[in-house]
């Protein structure tokens, strides 16, 4: 093949839908995914059940220049008779090197493995729903973080670090203070994980998050969260264990400690049944009910979850799940069937 023909082909590859524009002269390129789900629920209690459309989430990765990247994520969620559009993530990043990548924007807080690994990508996770401690709308941990981050790999080690400073959570414990820090006291987060190249699929890590939560009428509260996780995700096995400890120290009152953990395990069946992955999860949250940040919205919680995932021959899966929960000492049962998918937009590997 002649040199000029090769160059033309290279330009086509880099400019094509799967191109990452890793040479600056090709200009910005965008690649993304559309995640979504539909769910059927049969549950005890008075909450609505039946069929529901889950979140539809659009996710875009743009390469603006060789070292300048943008990641955006927008969700569409049904709430009280209409659909709400939310900016979930918007991250502008400059990659100096593998050891130093600097970004600003709105992130998934890296204080929980599940929160960053799966979050709105329901097709990616093994179960129907996230563990209660990191679920959608929880105030147990701040799931989103508005601020600046640095991250990278420490030399030639298998250690990946992240560190950030941001606004922290809002006074009601749920929001991420997108409009600025109400109490001018920045939240700080540091986390690290180890993924040895010689032990593919294994990861261990943890994080520490410090903040002062704004006054919600009962005084401001110092907050300290630490977490640890261990993961095995290779071949047929999918194992995740995570522990999160939350300490709140209100100006007026004694320190209050709460904690949560879950153990999740799935095993893909062999041979002709390889599309089927049965899974189980045990999870527990132990909270101080007088905690001023949780405001009674986070319950003492226990659950055992058992389900089966069936992967279609595409980025789509069906999951059926039984959940037995104890919420504020009240037992309840629920059964779910969920269809989830991820549609690639602009290229494949």
């Amino acid at each position: 093949m002649s040199k000029s023909l090769r160059r033309a082909l290279a330009a086509l590859v880099l400019l094509g839908p799967s191109a990452s524009a890793q040479v600056p002269q090709t200009g910005p390129t965008v690649q993304g995914f559309l995640f979504g789900d539909a769910i059927f629920t049969e549950a005890d209690g008075t909450a609505p059940d039946g069929f529901q459309l889950g979140q539809i989430v659009g996710h875009a990765n743009a390469t603006l220049a060789e070292r300048v990247l943008f990641f955006g994520e927008v969700s569409l969620t049904y709430r009280s008779g209409s659909y709400a559009v939310n900016m979930e993530r918007a991250i502008l990043r400059y990659d100096f090197s593998d050891a130093l990548k600097v970004s600003v924007g709105r992130f998934h807080t890296p204080i929980s493995f599940w929160n960053t690994a799966y979050h709105h990508g329901l097709w990616l996770q093994g179960s129907v729903a996230r563990p209660e401690a990191v679920k959608f709308g929880t105030s147990f941990i701040p799931v989103h973080f508005v601020g600046a981050m640095v991250e990278g790999r420490l030399g030639n080690t298998p250690v990946h670090y992240m560190g950030g400073v941001g606004n922290g959570r809002s006074a009601n414990g749920v929001g991420a203070q997108d409009g600025g820090d109400a109490n001018r006291h920045r939240a700080v987060i540091v986390s690290a994980s180890v993924q040895p190249a010689s032990l593919l699929g294994f990861q261990v890590g943890g994080g520490l998050y410090l903040d002062r939560v704004p006054d919600s009428g009962t005084g401001a509260t110092d907050e300290r969260i630490w977490s640890g996780h261990a993961v095995w995700d290779r071949g047929p096995l999918d194992l995740v264990a995570e522990y999160i400890d939350v300490m709140h120290d209100p100006d007026d009152g004694a320190s209050l400690g709460s904690s949560a953990y879950y153990l999740h395990g799935g095993v893909r069946l062999p041979g002709a049944w390889s599309a089927v992955t049965p899974y189980v999860r045990w999870e527990e949250i132990d909270v101080e009910l007088a905690d001023p940040v949780f405001g009674g919205a986070v319950p003492d919680y226990q659950a055992v979850v058992a389900g089966v995932r069936y992967d279609l021959d595409a980025p789509a899966a069906l999951k059926a799940e039984y959940r037995r929960e104890k919420v504020f000492s009240v037992d309840r049962d629920a059964f779910f069937v969920q269809a989830s998918f991820a549609i690639p937009i602009g290229g494949q590997s």
Partner: protein, 160 residues
């Protein structure tokens, strides 16, 4: 010798010959790791090769971004790379890259190439590119990288 025994011996003999031929063939399917001629790397530890192919290392020592050219599905060399480097099948591989993009770890997945010729040609014109081709398809222009100090022709080479 009865006809039945003779037939059985012929079948066993044919099976052994076929297995030997298959074994010899698989022995010749070593995969060479090839980089852009200007990339200053001659030897990579296997662990570092894994990090590059898994998108955990995205820059060469000279600061240029790595561009991974990946053979499209159904090629024998892709299956070998998925098995040895990624430890995954096709479904796991797809989920792996979707997950990396979802977590904003990478902006895009590997670039697909549809033949060894295409891989071998493109890697010479895209700065920072790395790919893999069957050793028989390596040309004199290809910059082949040693893995743990070994070339594809050496005994003990990791990608065979």
């Amino acid at each position: 010798m009865t006809r039945l025994v003779r037939t059985a011996l012929i079948c066993v003999s044919a099976f052994v010959s076929a297995a030997a031929a298959a074994s010899a063939q698989s022995g010749s399917t070593a995969v060479a790791i090839v980089v852009h001629p200007a990339t200053e790397v001659d030897d990579l530890p296997f662990g570092e090769l894994r990090r590059i192919f898994r998108g955990e290392r995205q820059f060469w020592d000279d600061g240029r971004r790595v561009t991974l050219l990946m053979r499209a599905p159904a090629a024998a060399e892709r299956e070998l790379v998925l098995d040895r480097i990624y430890g995954m099948d096709e479904n796991d591989f797809r989920e792996f890259w979707i997950g990396k993009m979802f977590r904003a770890e990478v902006a895009a997945g590997p670039k697909l190439v549809y033949s060894s010729d295409m891989a071998r040609d493109l890697v010479t014109v895209i700065p920072g590119a790395i790919t893999f081709v069957p050793v028989n398809d390596v040309s004199s222009e290809s910059r082949v990288v040693r893995i743990d100090g070994l070339l594809p022709s050496d005994p003990g080479y990791a990608l065979r």
